[in-house]
Symmetry: C2
Subunit: 235 residues, 2 copies
DNA sequence: TGTTTTCTAAATCATAAGGTTTAGATAAGT
DNA sequence: ACTTATCTAAACCTTATGATTTAGAAAACA
């Protein structure tokens, strides 16, 4: 939670020096904020973040030198508690999705009223997420589109369904990179039996070596015993 | 977009018959909705959806027979334009995340004012997403937590960084399940050279067969040439 | 009862894959 | 000039893997 007794330390990164000045003035008007630094360079910005460890970073996502997504990634790697509010001229759903995925806590369009930026900073500093309604709709559409693709490839008429229980167990072990001898030991059956199962698996999956069997399994939503039990406990 | 000249066809699924009656009355009060069916069984519900193809399904996510997530999945597989509004007593972030991932368009807590349900149906039927502010915050937290885990495992100090350019190319082909002979052909080098590279890869990745090399690559964020070019064009 | 499926297992064979060493040619860096 | 890294390649050997056939036992099914 935010400590209201202290001023929030804010760092600004925008390659456009004019915008930078404008934003700084806007934020400085609010007595509860303290702009600890401004820079037009993403790389310098990252160093400033390391040095000053601000509470909030307001950053343009569209910069030439290092794009905002890369900068976000770099900031994430610092492992600080700094929250980032993205400032952007774009409203592309993929960009929003990727920014949120990389840990951005707020997203403000440059076309929006400037007071909205203060709103966003306020929200984000209190640990909440700030996304204008338009953008959150876009975000969800994109999120669901991505999820749908994953589902589709997992549900695709797949050869995996033709495997027997035992073959599933064997394939599971194959996807862990285990060899015949160890599989036999784990399942307490002979090595030749394992070979028989594996060959049957190959035929059913229409491949002719382990690597391709494993690749098929992984790209067609094969549920390993580990992930199965995970689902069981989660539900 | 919604056609205002027609009544919206709504189907209700809730294992609690009392809730079901309550919701039906609430919705029927609105003259623009037409409740085409109600059922306490998820399985029957799915059949009703197939038969009546409603515009909106309002479904409880917490049902004994078939849980709401499974039902959502089944509805998704029907490939209809039906939009689902989830009704729930829970506010668990993982549940919201998974429901949204499976294509739910709205999420209403049972504790919320009943008029909110009408709001949600209205929003969703117009193609938007409905998530109360509390839940969208939870959703984003969960979303970012999941994304962070992915990032973490991809950024983990990994052995992949020690590979040379050529070794990367070879590993890329290995992850496509290609054998020595074909790799040699693709790279226009001899098979023995490929073997040399592969052996060097094994040592660097600390594995001793292709399957484990491929598994290591896939689970440690190895970028294939395909995904690399994708990133290039996307940025 | 007869049929099919699944799991088990062995035998045999061919070859792909893995391990190790040695070495020449370049290119890059000190 | 010297060293190091990288890419290339061959020879040699061992073993793991894959392909195919045959077959017994148990369970499921018609």
């Amino acid at each position: 939670m935010r400590d209201f007794s202290k001023k929030l330390r804010v760092l600004l990164i925008d390659d456009n020096a004019n915008h930078l000045r404008g934003i700084k003035e806007l934020i400085t008007l609010e007595s509860s904020y303290n702009v600890v630094g401004t820079t037009t360079s993403a790389n310098i910005g990252i160093n400033l973040i390391k040095r000053y460890q601000p509470d909030i970073v307001v950053m343009d996502i569209n910069m030439p030198e290092k794009d905002g997504l890369q900068a976000l990634k770099a900031i994430g790697k610092l492992g600080l508690e700094t929250n980032v509010v993205i400032l952007s001229g774009y409203d592309d759903s993929d960009l929003i999705y990727r920014a949120m995925k990389l840990g951005a806590k707020g997203y403000v369009l440059k076309t929006m009223a400037s007071m909205k930026l203060i709103d966003a900073i306020e929200q984000v500093s209190e640990g909440r997420i700030y996304l204008p309604a338009v953008l959150s709709t876009r975000f969800f559409e994109h999120f669901q589109a991505v999820a749908q693709k994953e589902e589709a490839s997992a549900n695709e008429e797949n050869l995996l369904s033709s495997l027997t229980m035992r073959e599933n167990e064997v394939l599971d072990l194959l996807t862990q990179g285990i060899n015949y001898k160890s599989i036999a030991a784990k399942l307490v059956i002979s090595e030749t039996t394992v070979k028989t199962h594996v060959n049957n698996i190959f035929q059913k999956l229409q491949v002719n070596d382990r690597t391709n069997a494993v690749l098929y399994a992984l790209t067609h939503g094969f549920k390993t015993s580990a992930s199965k039990s995970q689902v069981m406990t989660a539900v």
